[in-house]
Symmetry: D2
Subunit: 342 residues, 4 copies
C-alpha cells in the first residue's frame, strides 16, 4: 500500500503532528509506504513529491508550519486539473491519499473521491475552528493561547495609561478566536463576524468600563463589521497580486472610539503571529490523533471520509457533509459571554 499525503491552505500549528502520526503508525503497524506531495494540490497536479518515512517525521512534532509546504492551488481551476491528479496518482502507484486542509482543499478531495473514485481520507484544518462536523480543529487552541497572552499583556498598558486598546484577531467568517481569547483575556467587548456591531453600544461599554476605573480592551475579529457604515471598511486598494486589501476593522474602530468618546484608543493587529510557531499541547494531542485515525481509515478502506473530534473521541464523517456548512458562533453562546461586556 502506497499512501500520499498533502497539506493545503493556510498553515496551522499541528500540521506536522498529523503527518507524523499517520506515517509512524502506517510504517510501523501496517508496513505502508508514503509519498509526500509538495504545496497542497500543486504536488499531485505537477507530480512534485518528497520522500516521506520515519526519518522525515523525526522531531517535527513541536514544529509549526508543514514539512510538505502548502499553497492555495485549486485544481478545479486548472485545465483538466482533477483528471491530471487522478492520472498522476495512478502513475505514482499511490493507492490512497490523505488530504489535510480546510473547506477548499477538502472540497477537491470530496470531488476526487465522489466523481473519480480516488481513495481520499480527509483531515480537517482551519485555524478559525469554523468547520462543522468537528468539535475543534487543531491550531485553534494555539491561536487562542497566543491571542490571550497578548491581551493579558495589553491590560497593563491599558490601565497604566487609561487608554482603550483594540485587538484585532483572526476570524473572517466566524468569531471563535475572538470569543475564546476575548473571554479568556478578560476583554470588555468582543465583536464577531456573526453579528454586526453597533458602534454606539461599543462606546457605551467603553465608557462604562472607564467609570469602573479600569481601561477597556476591545477584541474584534478581522471579519466583524459595524451595523452601518461598513463601506468605510473597504479599502479598495489592491495588493500586488490583485487581492483587495482588508481594511482593518481594528484601526477603523479605534478611530471611531476616539472620535466618539474622547478617549485615546490604540490598535494591535496580531496577524500571522497567531498561526505560527509550536503547537500547544492540546493541538499536538488532537493533530496526532487525527493522523493516527486517518491512517486507520485508509487501512479500513473507509474512503470519502474525514476524521473529526466528538467530545474526546475521534470519529469519521463524510467529507462532503463535513464541509457543507460553516460552523459559526451560536447567538446563545455569544449572549452567554456578553455578561462580561462593559
Amino acid at each position: 500500500m502506497r499512501v500520499g499525503v498533502l497539506t493545503g491552505g493556510g498553515d496551522c500549528p499541528g500540521l506536522n503532528a498529523v503527518i507524523r502520526g499517520a506515517v509512524r503508525k502506517g510504517v510501523q503497524e501496517y508496513a505502508y509506504e508514503f509519498v509526500g506531495y509538495r504545496d497542497g494540490w500543486r504536488g499531485p497536479l505537477e507530480n512534485d513529491t518528497v520522500p516521506l518515512g520515519i526519518p522525515a517525521v523525526r522531531g517535527i512534532l513541536p514544529r509549526g508550519g508543514t514539512i510538505l509546504g502548502s499553497s492555495r492551488t485549486n485544481p478545479l481551476k486548472a485545465e483538466n486539473g482533477i483528471r491530471r491528479i487522478k492520472d498522476n496518482l495512478a502513475k505514482a502507484e499511490v493507492d490512497a491519499l490523505i488530504v489535510i486542509g480546510g473547506e477548499d482543499t477538502l472540497g477537491v478531495a470530496a470531488r476526487l473521491h465522489d466523481e473519480y473514485g480516488v481513495n481520499c481520507v480527509g483531515v480537517p484544518k482551519t485555524i478559525d475552528n469554523d468547520l462543522s462536523a468537528t468539535d475543534y480543529t487543531f491550531g485553534f487552541d494555539t491561536a487562542v493561547g497566543i491571542a490571550t497572552e497578548a491581551i493579558d499583556r495589553l491590560h497593563t498598558t491599558a490601565e497604566s495609561h487609561m487608554r482603550v486598546l483594540v485587538v484585532e484577531v483572526m476570524g473572517r467568517h466566524a468569531g471563535w478566536i475572538a470569543l475564546h481569547s476575548g473571554l479568556a483575556g478578560g476583554a470588555n467587548v468582543i465583536l464577531i463576524p456573526e453579528q454586526r456591531f453597533d458602534v454606539s453600544q461599543v462606546c457605551e461599554w467603553v465608557t462604562s468600563r472607564f467609570r469602573a476605573t479600569y481601561a477597556p480592551i476591545v477584541v474584534v475579529a478581522e471579519g466583524a463589521a459595524p451595523q452601518d457604515g461598513d463601506a468605510v471598511l473597504k479599502d479598495g486598494s489592491l495588493d500586488s497580486f490583485g487581492h483587495v486589501r482588508l481594511s482593518g476593522v481594528g484601526e477603523w474602530l479605534a478611530n471611531e472610539i476616539e472620535r466618539r468618546t474622547g478617549k485615546e484608543a490604540r490598535t494591535t493587529v496580531l496577524g500571522h503571529v497567531q498561526r505560527g510557531g509550536t503547537p500547544s499541547a492540546f493541538d499536538r494531542w488532537l493533530a496526532t490523533r487525527f493522523g493516527l485515525h486517518a491512517i486507520d481509515a485508509v487501512r479500513d478502506g473507509d474512503f470519502g471520509r474525514m476524521v473529526a473530534l466528538k467530545g474526546t473521541d475521534i470519529v469519521r464523517v463524510p467529507i462532503a457533509e463535513a464541509t457543507a456548512k460553516l460552523k459559526t458562533v451560536d447567538p446563545e453562546l455569544y449572549a452567554e459571554v456578553g455578561v462580561f461586556f462593559g
Copy 2:
C-alpha cells in the same frame, strides 16, 4: 437570594475563573448576593466568611490558586459536621451553595443535598482529569501544557548527553496528564497507574531508542507502579503530619534503567509547578463557563446537580452519580498512543 461559594481540595488553575463567572452573572443578571466561605468546608463549618461581590472578583481571571483559600477539612469527620454546616448556612441566610471541588468535596455536597436538603450545586475540579461525567476538568490543560514544555526542554539535554531522562508527572490514580503530556512532548515511553509496567519492556524501549541515535524520554505518572517489586516504591517514612511519603517512582525507575541498560539516567519531578500559576486559555474558558452555568443552575433551582462538559456543551448531571466512578485511561487509548513507544 444569597449564594455561598467554597473551593475545596488541592488547588487548580481556573478556580478563580469559576468564582468570577458565577459572581459576575449572579450579581449583574440576577441581583444575587454572595458569601465567600474560606478554606473549603472549614468555612461553613466554622462560619468563616469573606465578602464576595464584583470588586472581589476583579482581575482574578488570570490568577492561579483560589481567592477563597482551600483545605482538605472533611466535615464528615467533624462531630456533627454536616449538621453544623446546615445550621451555619441557615443562620447566615444562605439559600444555595456552589461547591467547587473534587471527589471528596463533592461527596460532602451530595450528602448535604440528599440527606439534609441543602441547596447545593457542584462544579467539578480535579487537576488529574479523573472525574467521570465530564469530558475535561479545568486545570488539566494547564498542567499538561506545563509538563509538555518541560519535556520539550528535556529533549535537548537528553540528546546532547545521550542520557535517559525520566519525568515524573502528577496522576495518582489516573494517567491522563502523563498520557497527554507524554504524547504532546514526544516521549518514548509513557507509564500510567492504570497498567502496571514491565521494567524489562521499558529498558528495551530505551535501548531501541538509543539505537535510532536519539536519547529517550520516559514520562511516568506518580501513581504508576512496576508489575513486581513495587514494595521498593514504599518509602515507609512519615512526614511531620504522619502521612506516608510517596517513594518517587521516577527516581526508582531511573535507577533501574541505569542498572539494567548501563546508560546514565536522570529524573525530573515536576511537582507543584504543574498546578500553580495562570490558567491556560482553554482552562479559563472552561472554568468561566462552569461558573456561569453553576449560577444558572441555582437560578433554576436545579440542586444536587453538577455542571459538566460534554463536547462543547455545558450540561448538568447528578453530583452523586458524577463522582461515583474514577475516570481512568481506557486500555484502547493507551494502546493507540503506544505506537510512539520505543
Copy 3:
C-alpha cells in the same frame, strides 16, 4: 524622612519592581515614610497622592504597568509648573523625590534639582534602551523577548507559504529592540532608525534568501526610514488628539517588496504588546536593584543623581548628563550583526 515616588512617560515592565524595591528597603531598613504621586508629574502638580507602604507593594513584582499610573504631563508647559510642584512637595513635607522616567520626565527632575533645590533621585526608564549612561534600562529585555518569540513564530508561516514577513517593532530613534530581537529571532534583514535603508538592497537580501530556499523575515524599527522617498511614510492625518499618525514603515516596506520582487509580503506590527505584561527575570532583577539603590541615594543625600547599570554594578551619575545624549546603535555593532543579512 518622607519620600515621594512617581512614574512618568510610557509604561515599561519593571516599574512596579522599582517602586517595591525602594519602598521595601526604605521602610524596613531606614524607617522612611512614602508618598505615591499619581500619573507622573501630574501628581505633584495637582497634589494627587496615594498611600504607599509595604501593603501597597505586596505582590506587585511580577505585574506590568505601574501602580502609580503614568502620564506625559509636562510641568514645564504648565503655568508656574515647577514652582507649584516645589510648593506642593513642601506642603506635603516630602523631603526627597524618586523620579522614574525617561528623557522628558528626568529632564524635569534635573531642573527641579538644579534650579529649585528639590531633592531628586532619578531612575532611568525607556523601553527603547536609548538612554546613555546606563548599559540597559528595564523593560527592554522583556520587549526584546516578546518580539523574539513573535519572530520565532513567524518563521514557520514564512516558510510554509514562501512569503516575506515584515515585523515592525518599537524604536523611534534607536534600533536596539530591532537589533536584539532581529538577531535573536534569526531575521534576514534588520532595519534601524540610525541608518537610512536602501530598498533595493533590502529586496536583494530578500531575493537571495529565497534562493537559499528559505523565506525571509525582515525586522524594521518603527522609526526606520528609506534613503529616499521617505515622504511616503508621512501619513499626514491627525488622530483625535491632533497627533500626526505614524505612517507604518512596515506596511509601506511590505508593499515595496511585493512590488519590486513579485513575492507576497505580509506585515505584523507588534505594537503595545511589547510593553505590557509581566517583566522578564532580567528586568525584575535590574528594576529591583534600581529601586534599592535609589533609596540608598536618598539616604546618602546624593541628589541630582540617577542610578544606572555599568556591567553588573549599579552606579550613580548626574541626571542631567545622563539624559543629554540619546544612546543609539553604533555603526560598528550594526555592521557586526549584518553578517546575518540576506
Copy 4:
C-alpha cells in the same frame, strides 16, 4: 584556514548559537573551512568529526543543546591525551580550534595552547555563571527565566494551601541562579553555597512570613549547606557510574522546616529542565556575539585567549586567567538582596 569547533561539559542553551555565529562569519567573510568535533574533547582525541558549514548551522539558533554533542571526556586523563589531540589536529590540517566549554574544558585548551602551541580560542560556557572574567555566560539567563517562571507558579499553590514551598535550583559552587531567580520570583528566603545557612534563621523567616498572612517560598541552590549537620546531606549511595548521589538539600530542608515550624512544606527540584530548550533572547544575543568574536580572534591570530562580556562589549582575556578563579556571589550583593527575606 581550517577551523575546528568543539563543545564540552554540561549542555547550555546557546551552544548552537555560538557555533552558528562562528561558522556564518567564518565562511561568509573569511572563506574559512570548518570541522566539527563530536562530544567535546572525545572528538579530537578519537578523530571523530562531522561536516560543519552553512547548511549544518541553518535553523539551529533557537535550538537548545549542541549539534556537536558533548561529553566530560578529559584528555588529561587519557594516555598521551594532549599529544594525540595535537597529532590528530595536525593530520586533519586544522589550523585553529574554537573550544566552547567551562572550567575543565577550557583548562585543557589553555594547556594545549600554552604547552603544545595549539591555536586555541576559548568561549566560556557555564550555566551557573561562575566563570570569572565575563560578566555573564550564556544559558544563565535562560535558566534564571525558567526558575523564575516556576517560582511564579508556586506562589499560588503556596498561598492557596498556606504551605512552605522549597525550590531547589542549580548552583553547586555559586548561587547566581538562586539569587537571580529568587529575587525575580519574589522568594522569601534565598540560600546559596557561598554562605552556610542557619536553619533556625530560615524557620524564623518562614514563620514571620506566615504572620504577614502569606505563604513562603524558599529558594535553595543545590550546593547550599546548613551551618552544622551538613552530614545529613551526604547520601553516601553511589549511582551506577560510581558517583556519589547528591543528597537533595531541598528535600532535607523541607523536612527540617516541617519539623521545626509545624507547617507543611513541599519541595520542587527543577533539575535538568533549567538547562534545556530554546535559549532566551538575551542568551541568543550573547552566544551569537561570542561566536562572531571567537572567529575574529582566530582571524587575528589572537590565540590562548577567551572571549568575554564586559558591560555591553565583547573583549578577549587569557584563557588561563579567566578560569583561575570561580566567580561567586559577593557577600555585599547577598546582603543587598536580603532585604526581601522573611
